[in-house]
């Protein structure tokens, strides 16, 4: 009834090729943007920012990055944690070496550095595929974590090997350090996520994205029709690593403020982000958001219900929470092996016909 194409006439090519061709979709999208930028910043407090929104936004960036590589280009990567660590240590070195420069520039530069490292570790992808490539990226994960643990230069020779984010500002507002306000933190991450998601959406709709998908679907066929596997795969690695590097930089500087590479960027982080895109949906921008939301918000929600409302013991609640999240993942994937994005797609298909299915 509301969700329909009928009567929604396009009169130009630009209209025809827009991201959200259906009017209702478009309005919903504008509404989400309006709430995210115009409403939430006025109501957000420290708890909501630090425990809910900021981790969600940052994991969404990381999931977008991995989705570009794995979902769109078909290159399985288990090095996400390591690449996030590159972003985090790059931003740390930059923000301590050039304290007067805006942190936004540092975050983007950290993404750039991660892109270079990502391309380097992406080189094996030209010869190996699938599980073999996954193992090669696993090597990146372990090597990078080892490197940041081993070489004291990366953590400025601090006694404990911890890196801590000093206060840095954007346009006079602190976005890192302890005196950061909740809205500043939230908006900083939101703006970066918005820009990157917009970029990712348009990249994947254009030539670059189509090349990635051609390589993913069948690399030999793609090569025959003129897609250069070298540039295509390496561009996927570069752009994906850029996203992941930005996520790592924000994760360290804005969200946690102090990290230790083994604990924050270990192999479990790589798996967490891989699970996000698998549950959310491979090759889908919405899926990256849905997966990040599922794995970040659900544990917090369950904890608050079980401990805060039902008054369970914390250890019992923590164990039950693991079981519920695990069971939900299995149920979701049995119900829809292509992830939450596919569920959303199906729901939209049904909505088009509703309430007259015939």
């Amino acid at each position: 009834m509301f969700y329909r194409e009928a009567g929604d006439f396009k009169t130009s090519y630009a209209d025809d090729s827009q991201t959200f061709p259906i009017r209702f979709d478009r309005l919903r999208y504008y509404a989400v943007i309006a709430v995210a930028f115009g409403v939430i910043p006025f109501f957000i407090n420290d708890y909501w920012a630090n425990a809910v929104f900021v981790p969600f936004l940052i994991y969404a960036i990381a999931a977008l990055g991995l989705n570009i590589l794995t979902g769109y280009c078909g290159q399985v990567s288990l090095g996400t944690g390591g690449f996030m660590a590159v972003g985090a240590y790059a931003v740390y070195k930059l923000m301590t070496a050039f304290p007067e420069v805006s942190i936004l520039i540092h975050v983007l530069l950290a993404g750039g550095i991660t892109a270079v490292v990502g391309v380097l570790f992406g080189l094996p992808s030209l010869r190996i595929k699938g599980f073999y490539l996954a193992v090669a990226t696993l090597a990146a994960q372990f090597f990078l974590v080892w490197l940041f643990n081993k070489v004291p230069w990366f953590y400025n020779y601090s006694a404990s090997g911890q890196i801590s984010a000093p206060e840095r500002t954007v346009l006079g507002h602190a976005v890192t350090g302890a005196s950061t306000t909740a809205p500043a933190k939230y908006l900083f991450c939101l703006i970066i996520l918005f820009a990157l998601a917009w970029l990712a959406r348009n990249l994947t709709r254009g030539t670059v994205g189509r090349k990635w998908m051609a390589i993913r679907d069948m690399d030999i066929a793609a090569e025959i029709i003129g897609v250069n596997p070298l540039t295509t795969k390496l561009s996927a690695f570069a752009i994906s690593s850029f996203y992941i590097g930005v996520a790592g930089a924000l994760f360290f500087s804005v969200y946690l403020g102090a990290v230790e590479v083994g604990e924050a960027f270990g192999i479990q982080k790589s798996f967490l982000i891989l699970f996000m895109i698998i549950i959310g949906g491979l090759g889908s921008i919405f899926g990256s958001f849905a997966g990040a939301a599922f794995l970040v918000l659900l544990p917090v929600l369950l904890k608050n219900i079980l401990v805060g409302h039902l008054g369970w013991a914390t250890d019992l609640a923590a164990h039950v929470e693991l079981m519920i999240v695990g069971a939900l993942i299995v149920i979701f994937l049995i119900a829809e092996p292509h992830g939450m994005a596919q569920l959303w797609r199906l729901a939209k298909e049904k909505l088009r016909l509703w309430p007259f299915p015939h």
Partner: protein, 426 residues
Amino acid sequence: MKKTMTAMALALAVATPAMADLMVPNLSYRTGPYAPNGIPYADGFNDYFTLLNERDGGIGGEKVVVTECETAYNTEKGVECYEATKGDGALVYNPLSTGITYQLIPKVTADGITLYTPGYGRTSAANGKVFANVFNYPANYWDGASIIVKDILSQNGDNIQGKKIALVYHNSAYGKEPIRTLQELAKKHGFELVEIPVDHPGQEQKSQWLQIRRDKPDYVIMYGWGVMNAVAVQEAVNIRYPMDHFYGIWWSGSENDVLPVGDGANGYKMISFHGTGGDYPVYADLKAHVYDAGKAAGDGSNPGNVLYSRGMYAAMVISEAIRGAQAAAGHSNVTTAEVRDGFENLNLTEERLTELGLPGFAQPIASSCADHGGPGTAMIFQWDAGAKKWNQSSDWISADADVIDPLIAEDSAAFAAENNIAERCN
């Protein structure tokens, strides 16, 4: 859809319990690879406050509300716990994790809340001139390293020139802390230091102990936590390393770490900044008011063990600081700022410890604006596998201040410069 969303939003929003009288959150971990050590500590912490509430009606007539929050030794969950509890007027945090401590240091400083990290956390927080809201008395990691070396010295007629000492450490902020001190001590006393990292969680240490078997260090010092401890003790037994030459820092010396190894662990040494065992008079009160009343935390199997005693120690210091804050402020419902002052002016005497039912349990502490580090003393304990108990094998040993004080000054100055902190107390 909308209804579930609203319900979810509500559930997230109403996460926090009602405003408490004296709110002391317990960021504990009862799950994950560090749970065997996190559980007794959390139980001791909770039981002591339960005792105060049941026996004395709280502190100065105000009930203490201990909200427990599970961190699983994970920094992200630690942040969530901090934010969830801070809005309720939390007075002091004790996260029992060096990683979480590093994160909370700037946050508590900005929020004016106290962070109390007995025997862990950031060592240079002992310098109150830089770290206004962080207290780590009675002893820190560097004190621990120095005390162990002192004990080794005393066994070798004060000469360990040319000896080889291996440090087996948890490859994290916590485990790396003592390296700088041990390097300085190696220079001073002329021993050779071998650094052997063990990655989280430390269930696999074959290669590390192979290296020890090959290098044959004269002494091994361990900075481990969680399952890593028991595995290391087992591996040491496997390579027949002499257990009385194997020292654990206070976090590597609990019953959980040696009991699984059985008789082989006999003679293993650890240092502690408080006594252990269930013989202190306070346990009579605990039994009457807490255990027998069915109010014990956890499964009630931990009273008297090392980590339970440590949790109780932390709770005791916190309660004494709050008591001091109440006396200084002249009212019982103290604020976070008053509690911070209470920590800064803490004067815990031996008489007071005796009054509390803990005679000889710990060293007296007299804190000041500049001194947040306490006396820096500890005792050596040795494991008796037959009797299944820790025997005290030394008197209180104090750390080598000549080595540690300059290191603390250097590290805290670096922190102050990085964060534009002006020195206080001048």
